[in-house]
Structure formats: C-alpha cells, structure tokens
Symmetry: C2
Subunit: 145 residues, 2 copies
C-alpha cells in the first residue's frame, strides 16, 4: 500500500511544473487501487480557460481512463484545497476520498457552510501542507517582483 505522502509528492511535482509555466502552482492526481489514472497541473493561463484547474483535468482524464463517469473507488490528491467549481465536479464524480495539502481560506470550497462534496466523500487535509504552501508563497513572491 502506497502512502498518501507518496502520491502527494507526485502532485507537488506537477504543481512545480505549473509554476515553471507561470501558472499558480496546483497539481492533482486521481488514484484508483494504487494506480494513477489521471494527473494534471493547473493550466488556466496556458489554455486561456478558467475551467482548466488541475482537479478538473485530472477528473476528466480519470473518467476517460475508466470509461465511466464515476470515481467511487478513487482518491483525488490535490496540493491546494479545491474551489467551489472543482468541489462541485467532485460531487458529480462521487469521489470516495479527497486528500488535500494546503487549505485555501480565500477560495476553498469549505468556506461554504452547506456541504458541496458528495456525502460519501471522505476528506483528509494537511498532507504535506508546508511543502505546498512553500511553492505557493514562492510563486506569488516572484510575481510581485
């Protein structure tokens, strides 16, 4: 059994790739029975598309791989707490488990008191949060200089 840290490290690598392309550093993976079936980095700038968050692309890739719309036996690893759009997509996908590195007090879905995720989705936060926050802080510091 591979650990959450193992998969989150790969997601952090994707976030780092995003930063190198001038994108806000966020990476996401969908894992099903220890296999990565979808992975993506944030590409909103590159694709000129507000819907091109890492989670959205990873969900689409995973469902294409499975040939089905639902991710009921899967875990999504993401380096930053999903926004409302991505949490809404995870609701539709009925993802089993969501593992988050850093929280997002400004744009994260959990700011909303009403539940947005599917009732069956288990959530874990804070897995390699410091590493994710370090990437984000470095990115925004470079943007300002």
């Amino acid at each position: 059994m591979l650990t959450d840290e193992y998969f989150m490290e790969i997601a952090l690598g994707l976030a780092d790739e995003a930063a190198a392309e001038g994108e806000i550093p966020v990476g996401a993976l969908v894992v099903c029975r220890n296999r990565i079936i979808g992975k993506a980095r944030n590409q909103t700038e590159q694709l000129n598309d507000v819907t091109a968050h890492a989670e959205m692309i990873a969900i689409t890739a995973a469902t294409q791989h499975l040939g089905g719309k639902y991710l009921t036996d899967c875990t999504l690893y993401v380096t930053l707490e999903p926004c409302v759009m991505c949490a809404g997509a995870l609701y539709w996908a009925q993802i089993s488990r969501l593992v988050i590195a850093a929280d997002d007090p400004k744009r994260g879905y959990s700011r909303h008191s009403a539940p947005i995720l599917h009732p069956k989705t288990r959530v874990e936060t804070g897995v390699m949060a410091d590493e994710s926050r370090a990437l984000l802080t470095k990115f925004f510091r470079q943007l300002r200089t």
Copy 2:
C-alpha cells in the same frame, strides 16, 4: 437589440438536441454584444465526463473565441439553473449576466445561502421556464417508460 427570448430559444434548441442523444436536456449560450461566441448542449453521457455540462463547454468555447479568460461583457443563457460546479466556473469567468430558464430546486447553485457567483454578475430567472420544464419533464417521463 436581440431579446433574451431570442437567445433562450436557441439554447432550448440545443437542449432538445441533447435529449435526442439521451442526455438530460440542457443547452447554454454565451453572447457578447449580440453575437453568440460559445454554445453547447449537455454531453456528460456521450463524453463520459461529469464536467461536460453545457455551461462548462460554452464557457470554454467563448474564452477560446475571445482569447482571454474573462467574460466580463458577456451573458450566459442556460435552460436550467446551473449547478454549483457551473456557478463556480461562472464566478471565475466573471460573467456579467446570467439568464436562466427553469430553476433547479434539487441541484441549483441558489440552494446555497452563501453567494457562489461573482458579485458583479446580474441574474435573471424564468425566461421561457415553461418551455424548458416541458423538455425536462418529457425527457424524464421517457426514461421511466
């Protein structure tokens, strides 16, 4: 100046096309200065993708057309109230105006008390709602038989 009903009728035509393909009948248009710059029907079944709601595809098409991420001078016409995912995408796109035909008391974004849309987005509901509801009712009636 073309009317809201003019554009919503086109969105209803797209919803009808979705129904003919076995998809929940929802259609969406993005209109900018009286020109349609994005249009789509729900394609979740066909594409095996929970993110393939009409609104999401229309937003992506419109931003591709404009070459920019924001839809600040645009109106999105949609035949059914957007879900949380789509409302979250409309937030990021900063759409100026959202015109809805039928409401969705079960899955619509407005069930949530906290605001999900961008504060600058003006919303109008009930434009050709009866026509949209008739399409949805017919579709779900046929599904059950």
